[in-house]
C-alpha cells in the first residue's frame, strides 16, 4: 500500500498537471513537432542538456509572465505580446550562455534563438497560461519543458553512445572493444541518425501504449 502522504500528493492538482505533461500527454510525436530544429543539438549529451535547460527556463517563465498579464491583455494583440515575452526570455538565455558558457553557445549556434519559433512555447502560452492562474501555469510550463528535455536527452544519449562511444564526453566503450574490431557508427553523428532514432522511439511508444490498452 502506498503511504497516506504519497496518496495525498497524488491527488493534488499540481501533481496531476506534472504527471500529465510528463507522461500521459507527452507523445513523442507531439514533442518532436515542437522540437523541430533542436534535434540538431542532440549529437552530444552536453549540448542537449543545456538546450533542454534553456527551453525549460523559457517555457516556465513565459507561462508565468503571460499568466500574470492575462487579464490586462487585449485579446486581439495577444499573439504579439506573447511573442515579445518569449523573445525577451530567449534573448536572456542566449546572452547568459554567451557570457558564461561560450563554448557550448558556439556549438548551439542559432538553435537557442530558434526557441522563439518552437511550437511548444507558444502552444503552452496560448493553450494553458491564458486561462489558468500564474502558479499553475508556471508548474505546467516547467513540466512541459522537462518532458521535452527528456525526449531530447534520450535521443542525445543514443546518438553520443553509438556515434562516438562517449557519454558527456567521457569514453564509456572499453578499449578492447575497439581492438576486437568494434567501430563507432558514424551515421549517428549525422542528421539521418536523429530522424531514424525518433522514428524508432515513436514505434516503441506505440507498441507500449497499445499493449497497455489491450490489457
Amino acid at each position: 500500500m502506498t503511504p497516506a502522504p504519497v496518496q495525498a500528493l497524488r491527488k493534488s492538482r499540481s501533481y496531476k498537471a506534472v504527471a500529465r505533461a510528463l507522461w500521459e500527454a507527452n507523445p513523442i510525436s507531439k514533442q518532436i513537432l515542437g522540437i523541430c530544429s533542436a534535434l540538431a543539438v542532440t549529437v552530444q549529451l552536453k549540448t542537449a542538456l543545456v538546450m533542454s535547460i534553456a527551453l525549460t527556463f523559457v517555457v516556465a517563465f513565459s507561462s508565468l509572465i503571460i499568466s500574470l498579464m492575462r487579464r490586462a491583455m487585449p485579446r486581439n494583440i495577444r499573439i504579439m505580446v506573447e511573442v515579445s515575452v518569449i523573445a525577451t526570455l530567449v534573448i536572456l538565455a542566449d546572452e547568459f550562455l554567451r557570457a558564461f558558457m561560450y563554448d557550448v553557445s558556439r556549438q548551439l549556434s542559432v538553435f537557442v534563438g530558434l526557441i522563439i519559433t518552437n511550437c511548444i512555447v507558444l502552444g503552452r502560452a496560448e493553450g494553458y497560461a491564458l486561462s489558468n492562474p500564474p502558479c499553475k501555469s508556471f508548474v505546467d510550463g516547467l513540466a512541459n519543458g522537462i518532458g521535452y528535455g527528456s525526449v531530447l536527452m534520450g535521443v542525445a544519449f543514443l546518438r553520443e553512445l553509438l556515434g562516438s562511444g562517449k557519454l558527456f564526453g567521457y569514453p564509456v566503450i572499453p578499449a578492447f572493444f575497439y581492438e576486437a574490431g568494434y567501430l563507432d557508427n558514424g551515421l549517428m553523428r549525422l542528421a539521418p541518425g536523429a530522424f531514424i532514432i525518433i522514428g524508432l522511439f515513436v514505434w516503441l511508444e506505440h507498441t507500449l501504449l497499445s499493449r497497455k490498452k489491450g490489457r
Binding site: C36, S37, V83, G113, L122, L190, W203, H206, S210
Partner: protein
C-alpha cells in the same frame, strides 16, 4: 561566382535546411500528405526566403551589427542582441506586405499561395536561414543566393516527401510504425540520399 555556385549547391543538397538542420519540420510533417499543397507551400517558402533574407541582411548590417550605427554617429553601439526580435518582426511584416502585393497584382497567384503565406511566419526555417546568414558572415550577394537556394532545398525535400508518402499508402507497414514513425525513418533515408551530394566538389 564559383563561390556563389558552391553556396547554392551546398544549401540545396548537402546542407539542406530541412534534412541537415531540421528546420521547418512542423509544416513539413503536417503538410506533406498532399502533393499539391506541398508544392504550394514549397513555392511560398522559396518566395518568402528570397525576399526576407536579403532584407534581414540589410537590417543587420546597417542597424544591428557591432559598429553598424557609425553612419548615425554611434560607432560604439552594438545592438546585435536585438536581432531575434527584429528578424521575427521583419518576417511577419514582409509576409503581410507580400500578401497584399500579390493580392493586388496577381490574384491567380494569391489564390494558390494565399493560404500558405500566414503559416510561413511561424516556420522556423525562415528565421533559421536569417540567423545562419548572420552566423556565417555572408556578403550581400552570398546572402541573396543562400536565401533563395535554401528555399529551393526545402521545397525539394517537402515535394519529394509527399511523393514518397503517396507510395507508402500502398505499402504494408507494421502497425506501431504507421504514421509519424515511418515518416521520420523515411526522412532519415532521404537525408542519407541528400548527403551523397557531399562527394561533389566545385
Amino acid at each position: 561566382m564559383e563561390n556563389l555556385i558552391s553556396i547554392a549547391v551546398n544549401s540545396i543538397f548537402v546542407g539542406n535546411i530541412l534534412l541537415a538542420y531540421f528546420l521547418g519540420m512542423c509544416s513539413f510533417v503536417a503538410i506533406s500528405k498532399n502533393m499539391k499543397t506541398a508544392a504550394g507551400l514549397g513555392v511560398a517558402v522559396i518566395f518568402v526566403l528570397t525576399v526576407t533574407t536579403p532584407v534581414n541582411w540589410l537590417i543587420y548590417r546597417f542597424l544591428l551589427a557591432p559598429g553598424a550605427l557609425a553612419w548615425a554617429g554611434f560607432p560604439e553601439v552594438n545592438l546585435s542582441y536585438l536581432k531575434l526580435v527584429l528578424f521575427i518582426a521583419t518576417i511577419a511584416a514582409m509576409v503581410q506586405a507580400l500578401e497584399m502585393v500579390i493580392d493586388r497584382y496577381s490574384p491567380a497567384l494569391y489564390v494558390s499561395l494565399g493560404v500558405f503565406l500566414p503559416l510561413i511566419t511561424v516556420n522556423c526555417a525562415i528565421l533559421g536561414v536569417s540567423l545562419f546568414m548572420v552566423e556565417r558572415a555572408y556578403t550581400f550577394p552570398e546572402t541573396a543566393v543562400f536565401g533563395a537556394s535554401s528555399g529551393m532545398g526545402w521545397a525539394l525535400a517537402i515535394i519529394a516527401m509527399s511523393a514518397i508518402q503517396k507510395k507508402l499508402r500502398y505499402a504494408d507497414v507494421p502497425e506501431g510504425l504507421q504514421g509519424f514513425a515511418i515518416n521520420m525513418i523515411t526522412t532519415g533515408l532521404m537525408a542519407i540520399g541528400f548527403m551523397l551530394f557531399a562527394g561533389i566538389s566545385m
